[in-house]
C-alpha cells in the first residue's frame, strides 16, 4: 500500500522559533519542473522589525561568548549541515541546480563555516594592535562587533551566498537579520532548522523569506541595523544607501549584476569579518 507522505510546512526561523509571517501571507514555491512544492511565508516589514528586536535581545549575550565558544558553535553548524547534506542538496535542486552542483554548494557551505569557525579567536590578533604613542600611555586598538547586521542574499547560490554573508558577521559576535533569495527560499527554511540544532543562541541569526521590494526600505532605514551586507541591483543599492544615511549606517553592497563565484576561496576572507567590525582605541595611563 502506498503511503501519502507528510509534507513540511515551511516556517521562518526568527528569535529561535519557527514562525509564519505576522501577516499570514504566503507565496507558492514550485519545483524545477513547475509542480507546486510548498507555501513559503511572505514576510513583511513588521516581521523584519520583530526580527531586529529578536536580534537586539540576543546580541549582547552572543558578543560576550568567548571567541573559543563562538568558534565551536560555528563548527557545530557545519556539523549539522554536513549531517543533513543530502536533504539540503535536494532543497537546492528545487531551483534547477543539478544534483552534482547542489552537492558542491552544500559542501562549500560547510567548508565556509569551518573557515570562519577558525577565525573567531584569531581575527582580533590580526586586526587589532598596540599603538606606540609618543606619550606615557598603553594605547591599544581592538575590534568590536557593530551590532545587528542586515543581510540581503542573492538568488544564485541560495545557501552558499546566504552563509557567505551571514558567517563573517556572526564570527565576531554580531547578530543578523537576513532576507533569503525570493526565487529559491527553501534552502533558507532548512538552514533555520540546522541553526536551531547548532547551539547558536536563538535570535543570533534570523532568517526571513519574502520579497525584497516589500522590505528594502525598512532594511535601509531601521536605525538599529548598524550595517547592511547585501547583493543588490543598482536601484536597490541607491535605495539602501539613501536610507542608510539617516542613521549613518555602514553599507557593503555588492553588485547583483556582477558575476559572483561563491564557490571560490576568495569568497571568504578576513576582510568580510572586518566589514562588520568597529575599531576601538583605548588610552590607558602607564604609571605607578
Amino acid at each position: 500500500m502506498s503511503r501519502l507522505p507528510i509534507t513540511k510546512t515551511p516556517k521562518v526561523y526568527v528569535g529561535g522559533a519557527f514562525i509564519r509571517s505576522e501577516s499570514a501571507r504566503v507565496f507558492p514555491l514550485k519545483d524545477a519542473s513547475g509542480e507546486f512544492f510548498a507555501n513559503i511565508p511572505q514576510c513583511t516589514r513588521k516581521d523584519l522589525r520583530n526580527a531586529v528586536e529578536a536580534a537586539a535581545k540576543a546580541g549582547p549575550g552572543w558578543a560576550k561568548r568567548t571567541a573559543y565558544n563562538r568558534g565551536q558553535i560555528l563548527y557545530r553548524l557545519g556539523e549539522m549541515i554536513e549531517a543533513r547534506a543530502g536533504e539540503m542538496a535536494d532543497a537546492i535542486t528545487l531551483g534547477g541546480a543539478t544534483p552534482a552542483a547542489a552537492a558542491r554548494e552544500v559542501a562549500a557551505t560547510v567548508e565556509r563555516l569551518i573557515y570562519y569557525a577558525g577565525w573567531t579567536d584569531k581575527y582580533e590578533q590580526v586586526l587589532g594592535n598596540v599603538n606606540p604613542v609618543a606619550a606615557p600611555y598603553f594605547n591599544f586598538t581592538v575590534t568590536e562587533p557593530m551590532g545587528i547586521i542586515g543581510v540581503i542574499a542573492p538568488d544564485e547560490a541560495p545557501l552558499l551566498a546566504l552563509i557567505s554573508l551571514i558567517a563573517p558577521a556572526i564570527t565576531s559576535g554580531n547578530t543578523v537579520v537576513a532576507l533569503a533569495s525570493s526565487r529559491q527560499p527553501y534552502p533558507a527554511i532548512l538552514l533555520g532548522e540546522m541553526l536551531a540544532t547548532s547551539d547558536l543562541p536563538g535570535g543570533v541569526v534570523n532568517l526571513l523569506t519574502g520579497f525584497r521590494k516589500e522590505m528594502i526600505s525598512t532594511f535601509a532605514t531601521h536605525a538599529h541595523l548598524r550595517a547592511i551586507s547585501a547583493v543588490v541591483n543598482a536601484e536597490e543599492r541607491k535605495a539602501l544607501a539613501l536610507g542608510a544615511a539617516d542613521s549613518v549606517k555602514r553599507t557593503h553592497l555588492r553588485k547583483a549584476e556582477d558575476k559572483h563565484d561563491w564557490l571560490v576561496d576568495s569568497a571568504q576572507s578576513l576582510e568580510a569579518i572586518r566589514e562588520t567590525l568597529e575599531f576601538k582605541t583605548t588610552w590607558h595611563p602607564v604609571g605607578a
Binding site: V126, L127, N129, N131, P132, V133, A134, A135, Y137, N139, T141, M146, R226, A234, R237, K238, A241, L242, A244, A245, D246, S247, V248, R250, L253, K255, L270, E271, R274, E278, F279, K280, T281, T282, W283, H284, P285
Partner: protein, 504 residues
C-alpha cells in the same frame, strides 16, 4: 547675550577649620601683563587656489575675506573656487595619479612626506601664529599641539609608504586613485595632515577643500609642498564655502570621499553619493561622556574635565561635553570645577597665557549662544566665571550647566563650544547606560583608580576612542574615529591606512 551671563561668584568649599581653602583665583585678582607671541606669520595679502602645483587665480575672479576672529580684522583674501576650478583640480589630481604618484615606488613617496614633515617643523612657529590668527585658538595650543602633531602625522605616514604590504596581512593593497576631502575649521592644519598623509602614503592624489573661515594654513602648507618638490597635482586645494565642498564631494572623478564635519552635513554627503558605490570616510559629530567615578583622583579629573571641554574653545568633535559624575562626589567635583574655570584666562589667542581663545566665527558664536539660551530656558543651573572679555572679536565664557537631565538639549546636541553639561549617576551600569544613550559614539573618558573598571568601561562604551584618566590625547599611530552617527572609517594608525586602499 549679556543677559545669559549671570556672573556668579564660585562657592569655595570650606576647609575643616572653617576658613576658605586657599586657591589661586587668578581671573579677577590682578592683571597679567600681556605676553604676546610675536613671530611673523608671513601672510600674503591674497591667497590663490593651489592647483597642479601652482597658485592660480580662480576662474570666476572672485575672492572672500578671511578674518581674525579675535579682533574681526581682515587677514587676507582667499580665492573663491567655482565648478570650473574644481574640475581643473580634479583633472590635475587625475593626471598626477596616473602619470606620477600612483606608480612611484613607495620609498620615493615616503621621502616627499618626510620632507614635508621636516619643512613644517622648520616653519613651526610661523605656522602656529598663522593658525591662531586665522582660527582664534590659543597660541599655546597651535604651537604645542596643532603644528607639531601635523608634522608628526606626515612623519609617521611617510614610513608606511614603502611598507604597505604590512597594512592588510595576507593581502596586497593598491591606491584608490583620486580622493576628495573636505575638512573643518577647528583644527585646520592638523585636519589637513590627518587627511593628506595617509592618502598620499598609500599613493592616492587629493583634492581638498579647507573650511571657509580657515583656509590660510592649508595654503601655507601648499608653499611647503612646492619647496618639497612634491609633483604637481598630487595635492590640490580649492577654497570656498559649502557649495565648493559639495562640488568636491559630488564630483565624478574621486574614487573616495573623506569628510570631517557635522553629522548633519555628513548625512547630506552620504545621500548625495548614494548609488555611486564610492568609498567614504565620515568623521562626524560627538557628544562624549566624560565619566568620573568616586574613587578617581579628583583634582586630576578636574584638570581632565577642563581639558576635555575647554580645549580649543570646545570646538572639538570628541570634546567631553557631557560630564557624568558619580553622585557621591558630584557636589565636590562641581565645586572644584567651578573654582578651576574661574582661573581660566579667556581672551587674546595670541597671548601665550591664554587658555580659551576666540570662537571661530560669529556664526558659531551665535549658535553656541542660542543653545546656551535653550539650556537656561530648560531650567538647568548655569555657571560662568565673571571674566572680562575683549570688546572686539568673538568670545564666549566657559560655561557649566549642572543638574542636567538626559533629555535636555544641552545634553543631547553637539554645541561645539566651551559649554559643559553635568549629569550624575549612581552605579556603573547607570553610567554605561547614560553614556551610550546618544546617537553619537566618537569618544568617552573614564576617571577611576581601578584598572579593571577602566577595561570594563572601555569594553562597554560605544565609542571609537576611550581615554582613561586622561582626555583629548592624539597620536598619528592611534586610530581615531566613531561608532554610530559619529561616522565610520578611522584616521591614524594601521587601521586608518586601510581606508585609503583597495585590496587586490
Amino acid at each position: 547675550m549679556p543677559a545669559l551671563i549671570a556672573a556668579k561668584k564660585s562657592s569655595r568649599p570650606a576647609s575643616r577649620s572653617g576658613r576658605p581653602a586657599t586657591e589661586l583665583i587668578f581671573g579677577d585678582l590682578w592683571e597679567f601683563d600681556p605676553a604676546p607671541e610675536s613671530a611673523d606669520p608671513k601672510l600674503k595679502a591674497r591667497y590663490e587656489l593651489f592647483i597642479d602645483g601652482k597658485f592660480v587665480a580662480p576662474k570666476g575672479g572672485r575672492y572672500f575675506d578671511s578674518i581674525n576672529p579675535a579682533n574681526e580684522q581682515k587677514l587676507a583674501e582667499i580665492a573663491l573656487a567655482g565648478p570650473a576650478d574644481v574640475d581643473a583640480a580634479y583633472a590635475a589630481a587625475k593626471r598626477a595619479y596616473e602619470g606620477v604618484w600612483g606608480k612611484m615606488p613607495g620609498r620615493e613617496r615616503a621621502k616627499y612626506l618626510y620632507r614635508i614633515a621636516r619643512l613644517l617643523q622648520d616653519r613651526a612657529r610661523e605656522f602656529a601664529v598663522a593658525e591662531t590668527l586665522d582660527g582664534g585658538k590659543p597660541i599655546k595650543e597651535s604651537r604645542d599641539f596643532d603644528v607639531p602633531m601635523a608634522a608628526a602625522h606626515f612623519f609617521y605616514h611617510a614610513g608606511w609608504a614603502d611598507k604597505l604590504d604590512y597594512v592588510a596581512p595576507g593581502r596586497r593593497v593598491a591606491p584608490l586613485g583620486v580622493v576628495g576631502q573636505v575638512i573643518p575649521w577647528n583644527f585646520p592644519l592638523l585636519m589637513c595632515a590627518w587627511k593628506l598623509a595617509p592618502a598620499l602614503a598609500m599613493g592616492n592624489t587629493v583634492v581638498l577643500k579647507p573650511a571657509e573661515t580657515t583656509s590660510i594654513s592649508a595654503l601655507k602648507l601648499a608653499e611647503i609642498f612646492q619647496d618639497a618638490g612634491l609633483p604637481p597635482g598630487v595635492v590640490n586645494f580649492v577654497t570656498g564655502a559649502g557649495d565648493v565642498g559639495a562640488a568636491v564631494m559630488n564630483h565624478p572623478t574621486p574614487a573616495k570621499i573623506a569628510f570631517t564635519g557635522s553629522t548633519e552635513v555628513g548625512k547630506i554627503i552620504m545621500r548625495g553619493l548614494a548609488g555611486t558605490g564610492k568609498k567614504m570616510t565620515m568623521e562626524l559629530g560627538g557628544k562624549a561622556a566624560n565619566i568620573v567615578f568616586d574613587d578617581a583622583p579628583l583634582d586630576q579629573a578636574v584638570e581632565g574635565i577642563v581639558n576635555g571641554i575647554f580645549f580649543n574653545q570646545g570646538h572639538v568633535c570628541c570634546a567631553g561635553s557631557r560630564l557624568l559624575v558619580q553622585e557621591s562626589v558630584a557636589a565636590k567635583v562641581l565645586a572644584k570645577l567651578k573654582n578651576r574655570i574661574c582661573t581660566l584666562r579667556v581672551g587674546d589667542p595670541m597671548d601665550k597665557n591664554t587658555d580659551i581663545g576666540a570662537i571661530n566665527s560669529r556664526e558659531q558664536l551665535d549658535k553656541i549662544a542660542a543653545l546656551v539660551a535653550v539650556g537656561v530656558k530648560e531650567g538647568n543651573e548655569m555657571f560662568q566665571p565673571a571674566c572680562k572679555l575683549p570688546t572686539k572679536g568673538f568670545y564666549f565664557r566657559p560655561t557649566i550647566f549642572s543638574g542636567v537631565s538626559m533629555s535636555s538639549r544641552v545634553a543631547r546636541e553637539e554645541i561645539f563650544g566651551p559649554v559643559l553639561s553635568v549629569l550624575t549617576f549612581r552605579t556603573v551600569d547607570e553610567a554605561i547606560e547614560k553614556a551610550n544613550n546618544t546617537a553619537y559614539g566618537l569618544s568617552a573618558g573614564v576617571w577611576t583608580d581601578k584598572g579593571s573598571r577602566i577595561l570594563k568601561m572601555s569594553t562597554e562604551l560605544k565609542a571609537g576612542v576611550v581615554w582613561a584618566n586622561t582626555y583629548n590625547k592624539f597620536d598619528p599611530s592611534s586610530p581615531f574615529g566613531g561608532f554610530k552617527e559619529s561616522g565610520f572609517g578611522r584616521e591614524g594608525g594601521r587601521q586608518g591606512l586601510l581606508d585609503y586602499c583597495k585590496l587586490v
